[in-house]
Amino acid sequence: MEIDLVEVKKHLTGIVAVFLFYLLQSSVFRGLALHGTVPNLLLILVCSYGYLRGERSAMWTGFFCGLLLDIFTMDVLGMYALIFVYVGFLAGQTHSRFETLEFRIPLAAVLIGESLVCLAEYLFFYLLYGELDFPAYLKSHMLPELVATLLLAIPVYPFLLWLEERFVKVDPDERKKQEAWNVADLAEADRNSGNDL
């Protein structure tokens, strides 16, 4: 079996990105935290990959991001992993549904994904402990985190896009065209190869 260089690079960047983003979020951004709010960097990664690479890739990324968070912050493993896998799956829907590259789509995915994560956090960590005051949670935790994550997504998503295009060397637009390969394209490809011969 031949090794697909693009696949290798894809996995490599994925692993390094998860690793690096977790480190950044847990150490560096903690120090830069504005008003005690830390942006959810890993979520931006999952949502961006959902849009750039599709749901399968995003789910894997989400699973490992979530697992890292679980190991280092939770008593029970698998909670964040589950949330992030679902966010990855939802974000991945944008990959096949939207044909063109558009900056606003991953941002919307980040917005929706972050809201879901916050709601899940509220459900698991506050509601179950009898903390019923949702408006207080919304004001003190959810809104600041949403804004911070969205603001950070504005520089981080283009960086990931640039990595995909320049390092992994797949033009996401091109990829999409390949996946939507139709009979006419195949016929044309055959004709071309015939001409070469």
Binding site: S27, F72, D75
Partner: protein, 288 residues
Amino acid sequence: MSPIVRKKEEKKKIPPKYLLLIFTLLCALLMFLSYTQDLPFEIASDAAGTVITPFQQGITRIGGAIVAFIEEQHSIEELKAENARLQEEIDELSRENAQLMQDHYELTNLRELYELDSSYADYEKTGAKIIAAGEGNRFNSFIIDKGKDDGIEKDMNVIAGSGLVGIVAEVGKNWSRVNAIISDGFHVSAAVLHTQDHLIVSGDMELMRQGMIRFSQLSDKDRKVRIGDKVVTSDISDRYLPGILIGYIAGIDTDPNQLMRSGKITPVVDFEHLTDVLVITQKKEVLE
């Protein structure tokens, strides 16, 4: 022919919906297993910890160095101005010092009075650096750079400066996770030093932002407890060593039943700027 080869490749991959189902089941299984039995996952935690922790240590150190460098550049000018101001302060402080020495003498006497001379200054402690904080904005747990190898065990008390920070919740090979007392749903059995009245200190979502913690169930029949009174961990706590300072009472309300009182406590530990902590390597049950 290329189309056939292509189709085969696509067939090898699991459809996303099934992958989602597999992940869901896997996570549910993980949750179930890690909830019911602890053992097998320590290996995974240790592996992740061994890989991640050195990087976190590095980043924290580099970050600290950068901040220190920037501050140094900034501060040369400020230092000169500050120097002059400090000289004045020294004069003032030496006057104050005399006053404090007197207070110290008084404190020693009072300690003896309260039989607190076995205070936590005598406990065996080991220093640790905070290298990472827990997820997102619930600053309820953080990772320190000492673990099993340094003799840290679960349920050891963690202090910083002179006050209680929290308790070790999970121990890895070279890291451990500390749960902070300000976190939501966290309870510590405590007592007011001055009257030895018992109360429950618990973290609160809203007060956490203001850096405060809540207390409740203070049975203070004679209304002797005042704002500013010291709150320490109590003798009846099953996990905390007695006599560790938690904070000062910042506000008192009487509960509707007129029997108990509750309110706010300002912790002595500055949780926003915590970088180093001390882990007390003595555990409560050992003392008994």
